[in-house]
């Protein structure tokens, strides 16, 4: 979703931060509460005088609302500050910087991401040299053959006579080894060509898939129609430059197609109209597992679900497999996320749905209701440990009505330890830059 289509969400966030009721803001800027409600849910575009009036009432620059200091961008700026080393960066003013100079902030964020991607490429290549069995085997073959040739040639080149039987044997060995060296060198070059030649390896495959999904807005209408081709979508995707990324994307889209078939868009809209955002009720209605509903809800158009929804799916190692960002809930692009995310609680309680109200620290702190669940990602069978995945839906506070309002304790979570300011967090893995004098 483009940035300006989130203006309503930012107005809502800002209004809640300053503690203003929707009706009060509507009255002050001269519109009806219902119209403001549509704006806040991004169902009406806003600009001009009304945006300026709302910005003035909320005490922010209107650019902060229309262009936004996205949480992800701010998080990226903070990550860049960490990498800056001993340079004293005004980390506490990252949001202000992003708000006042959005273009420069994007440039800095993009440069930082590019540096990280290049570093990862170097790491990947170094790792391959050290651990790739094919590469190690090929290099061993080349070096061993070179050793044999060098040793044999040295013997033949020495002054003095060698017995004819030995000389003939060494000549034969040299001939064999030179042929082996030619073959093994060729095989090595072919291996490297195959893996590096045509593909742009600037980013890791999952990064490419993230960008692909983000660019598509996590929506693939053609795949919701009969005859939609995953291959065609993948082949047309300019962000999927590596074979690995295309394979990952195809697997993700297969899940998308299955979910869409089980929960067609029009029937989802009907169900939400009747039930509201009730994942358990929808699971019953569609006869699908709860995690399917959570996955499907995350990719439905906001005008159907009524809000922007974030999504994270991880494997048991905590590696993020799918991430759909939502304003106000920062997710690290690289590195491990905050272990306090309800996503990880779900991993320790298989099949047990977990609802948590959380907030990430920061001046624009926004509350979210997170719905988490872990489920076997593959078919369960005897004699095989199930592979669990955990899913977490990140919804605006109260988007899914609680059984009893007030029954939810507010949990403080972070993005990732390095840019989190919670000093006394028991789950902290490493010190925060915010405690290091920035």
């Amino acid at each position: 979703m483009s940035r300006d289509t989130l203006t309503g969400s930012r107005i809502r966030e800002r209004r809640q931060i300053v503690g203003l009721k929707q009706a009060d803001l509507a009255r002050r800027v001269g519109v009806s509460p219902s119209y403001l409600n549509l704006i806040e849910h991004n169902r009406r575009r806003i600009g001009g005088k009304l945006l300026a009036d709302i910005a003035e009432t909320l005490g922010v620059d209107h650019a902060m609302l229309s262009e936004g200091a996205e949480a992800a961008l701010v998080a990226t700026l903070r990550e860049a500050a960490v990498e800056a080393g001993p340079i004293a960066v005004e980390t506490d003013r990252a949001e202000e910087f992003a708000g006042r100079f959005p273009g420069w902030a994007e440039v800095l964020g993009a440069a930082h991401r590019r540096i990280l991607a290049l570093e990862r490429t170097v790491e990947t290549l170094s790792d391959r040299l050290a651990h790739d069995p094919n590469l190690a085997g090929s290099l061993h073959e080349v070096l061993s053959t070179a050793a044999a040739i060098r040793s044999t040639a040295s013997i033949l080149a020495e002054p003095g006579e060698i017995e004819p039987a030995w000389r003939d044997r060494f000549h034969r060995n040299l001939n064999e080894d030179s042929q082996r060296l030619a073959d093994s060198s060729k095989a090595l070059v072919e291996y490297l060509d195959e893996h590096d030649g045509a593909e742009d390896r600037r980013t890791a495959p999952r990064e490419e898939v993230d960008l692909f999904m983000e660019t598509a807005g996590y929506r693939f209408p053609t795949l919701e129609q009969p005859g939609g081709s995953i291959d065609a979508v993948v082949q047309d995707a300019r962000h999927l430059t590596s074979r690995a990324a295309r394979e990952i994307a195809a697997a993700v889209l297969e899940g998308y197609v299955e979910d869409a078939a089980a929960m067609p868009l029009d029937r989802c809209a009907e169900a939400i109209d009747e039930l509201g955002l009730d994942p358990a009720g929808m699971a019953q209605r569609f006869g699908v597992p709860l995690h399917t509903v959570l996955r499907r809800l995350a990719v439905l158009p906001p005008d159907i679900v009524g809000c922007e929804i974030g999504l994270v799916i991880c494997d048991p190692a905590g590696t993020i497999l799918v991430r759909k960002q939502v304003a106000g809930f920062a997710m690290p692009r690289f590195g491990a996320p905050c272990p306090l995310w309800p996503l990880f609680s779900a991993l320790s309680r298989p099949h047990h749905p977990i609802r948590r109200r959380v907030v990430q620290q920061g001046r624009d702190a926004v509350r979210f209701d997170c719905l988490s669940l872990s489920y076997p990602a593959l078919n369960v069978d005897f004699d095989h440990d199930p592979l669990w995945h955990a899913i977490m839906l990140i919804l605006p506070e109260q988007a899914v009505p609680l059984p009893r309002e007030g029954s939810q304790r507010l949990g403080e979570v972070g993005s990732t330890c390095r840019i989190c300011s919670r000093r006394s967090c028991p789950a902290r893995r490493e010190p925060s830059i915010l405690d290091e004098g920035f």
Binding site: L143, S151, I155
Partner: protein
């Protein structure tokens, strides 16, 4: 009395070249190409020096060395290790396992001879 060296190496042409080199230098050379049975071969022969490749079929040279260092009869046997992997990590592993000399391929004949003579000096 001729000194005895055992070479455990699975590349036949390297084996042949080193055998020629050391035989000419006055050594009795015995060779072995399989990692799994290498420890038995060494303990049976008990050579004056062992030249050991790292990457072998079956048991690796690193494991063979650790095994030999755990046996009283071979705990102080001089070992020259040959490898195509020259990373410092492999060198560290070999040193921890108790190697006396570490040499990366492709080596020169002079380097091999110098190392062998250094590890087992001629009786005076």
């Amino acid at each position: 009395m001729r000194r005895n060296v055992m070479l455990i190496e699975d590349e036949p042409n390297i084996t042949e070249a080193i055998r020629f080199l050391l035989t000419r230098d006055g050594w009795d050379v015995q060779t072995h190409a399989d990692g799994n049975s290498a420890v038995d071969a060494v303990t049976r022969v008990l050579p004056d020096l062992l030249i050991l490749d790292v990457m072998l079929p079956g048991k690796s040279g690193m494991d063979i060395l650790r095994d030999l260092r755990g046996r009283p009869e071979t705990e102080s046997l001089p070992v020259l290790m040959l490898t195509a992997r020259g990373q410092s990590r492999d060198r560290d592993m070999a040193e921890k396992a108790g190697v006396n000399r570490f040499m990366t391929k492709p080596f020169s004949n002079a380097e091999v001879l110098d190392a062998v003579r250094d590890l087992v000096p001629s009786p005076t």
